[in-house]
Amino acid sequence: MADIITSPHISGHADHHDVDYLHDGKGLKSWLTTVDHKRIGIMYLWAILFMFFLGGVFAMMIRLELLTPKQTIMSAETYNKVFTLHGAIMVFLFIIPSVPAALANFVLPLMLGAKDVAFPKLNLFSWYIYMVGALIAITAMVTGGVDTGWTFYTPYSTTTDGSVALMTFAVFVLGFSSILTGVNFVATIHKLRAPGMGWFDMPLFCWGIYATALIQVLATPVLAITLLLLLMERTFGIGIFDPKLGGDPVLFQHFFWFYSHPAVYIMILPGMAIISEIIPTFSQKTIFGYRAIAFSSVAIALVSFIVWGHHMFTSGQSQLASAIFSFITFFVAVPSAIKTFNWIVTMYKGSVAFNAPMLYALSFLLLFGIGGLTGIFLGAVSVDIHLHDTYFVVAHFHYVMMGSTVIAFLGGLHYWWPKMFGRMYSESAARVACALVFIGFNATFLPQFVLGSRGMPRRYYNYLPEFQFLHQASTVGSWILGLGFLIMAGYLFASLRKKMDAPANPWHSRTLEWQTSSPPITHNFHEVPSVGGGPYDYYRPMGQGRND
């Protein structure tokens, strides 16, 4: 299989075998027509980073507006559009594709010792679908905007003005990009592992991405169907969700969360996957409980399909349904706890270095701890009834989505940056930025737990004066967070202007992506890598196999 799937691009340039992938072909056209997974990964990276910037600007606007209880910088209508776009961009255009489509696209085949993903052309096609979806979404923003919230709840979404139809169509299109990337990764992991690499010899990153890909393939079609039904109701007046047309608005919520809850794990599993790489590398230590972590990923993926109703305890669903969903939800706590303790204990008797990627991984352990523990509050039905749709929920999912996934993404970005671009960034600047992001993030979202438990509902433009102090603390936190990101952008871009200086394996890692040059050559490895041991065999000298 590995022999058959060589891209035409590679086989057509036999004389360029030793050129790194960044210099193998010049000009925009060589990028836009590439089927090299590394180049596609980089194109995804720039696209999602732009979207992260855009979503971040909207986030700063939200926080600034909430500085005072009444109008601060914008009208209520604008505010409603801004928080909708913040959510929709961050979820559909940034977080979901962030780790899988950008980072995993680059490193997954390298980790497996493969030349490319299983379907390189399909990979490029996914990128184009993503770009088309992104363009449609941007069109929707500038032609009327959307004020439904990223959840598109009916019947508000079928009756409000604005470009709701266009925005849902954008999300519909983006879903296909996600599905095709998932299919590609499943096939790649099944078929393109290097000779000698069994399932349990794969780096845990691949397990995490595999579990993610399964959810992408199985859950995303449900979102597509739901959005199609929404479009039909909005455009042709076919009654599915709107009670005025004989529909049921709660049905939409069931459909929506049937996708969007698994989507939460599409977002967190890849983050966990990155942590499973960074911690052993910077501890120079065998990962503790390899199989437990691998199976926990798959367990979380499976359980994720049967807990959607915990978003709907107040929706009027039956009490029996709430009981069952609450019960199953608590099982997610177990694999999460297993993973957390496995990561921590991996450092035991290790040799721990505090480079920027590791600082992000350590931040992840603390922030995911808070995100996970506050999830227990929301799983308990009686407490959730009070906290549902308040800032407590906002704080909780930001600890999971941003405090965990985005922090892990940043860790991964700093970890693989030398591999991707062949350049080291300023380590001291990176540490400062990481500290600012960590402090700013907590200052922004810790106060929101208290806002929520005191009863402050989410998606509020005006709020009661008694909540002002905590809102202001949160807004000041967002400025610290923004400063951290500005510094990060500064030193990362600065590193790109330098000459290439990154060694092949700056972190002394044992996984395969570090066994080739930085940046890698177009076809990844000069010869098919032989796998003689596990990816975390830090107990024996580098290069020595288990049987040597």
């Binding site: 608005p249 409980g289 709430s322 308990a380």
Partner: protein, 313 residues
Amino acid sequence: MDSIRHWMLGPQGSAYANDVDVLYMFLVWLSVFFFALIVFLTVYLAWKYRRRKEGVLTPNIAHNLTLELLWSIVPLIIVMGIFFWGFNDYVRASVAPNDAIEIHVTGKKWLWAFEYADGTRTIGNLHVPVNRPVKLILTSEDVLHDFYIPSMRQKTDVIPGRFVDLTFTPTVPGRHQVFCAEYCGKSHSDMMANLFVDSPEVYEKWLLEGDPELQTMAPVEVGKLVYENKGCNSCHSIDGSKNTGPSFKGLYGRLEKFTDGSTVTVDDNYIAESINNPQARIVAGYEPVMPTFQGLLRIPEMRGIIAYIKELK
């Protein structure tokens, strides 16, 4: 301890609120314990085994069954306990006793309307007697809303085309805040209501006579209250700025032009018509979105709002 609880959760309005808070605070301390454990282990191990020399080999510690069983089974037992605790409270609070007072609630953009068994109808102010179970039966006229009483630790989505109910037994007299907690558009954050928990005598008197202030206040003052409490302020400004509906500032005596081209000079009768039958004539440049308030204003209240508009020059 109690001050921490109060700072985190705000005032309690019922015995059930205390039950929720006990579980909440249990979870807070449980989380503090586990978070402290995570922080301690992370910081301790990372620092104790910090890199002192490059290129060392480390022992191959791949797993430890006892430890792994410990951190699988202990969390499982704890969360199962929490499940039963939370669910048990929830079920108890969901069932209304037979002697509960039933009050119908309608949510619409962007106000709450209440209807009592004796025909009393109000907007924005819900009165209930203390220590009697209350069963609200709620529905929506347009989109999803959510009736949320933080001090009772209770909320429910309010769904068009469906009746849902919400039960609570208030034990603390006085005013309690009500929010709309399901996003419903422009004035979502202004869609609030007051829950007044009265002594039985005050409650009975209120049912008969309406808000006591109405008896003694000047009409303009009554009008101002009506403006704030009945939801007028969601759509009509008093400073001349354009909102969903025309501003009240300078409205009285103005020549209004309608969508059908006709005009009227705003007087008492036009204001009354606009309140009772808002769809009759639509001012040019506005959408026909105002709900009717027919039967929702007592005569002093109607007089009050007219006087109030007259005052806003």
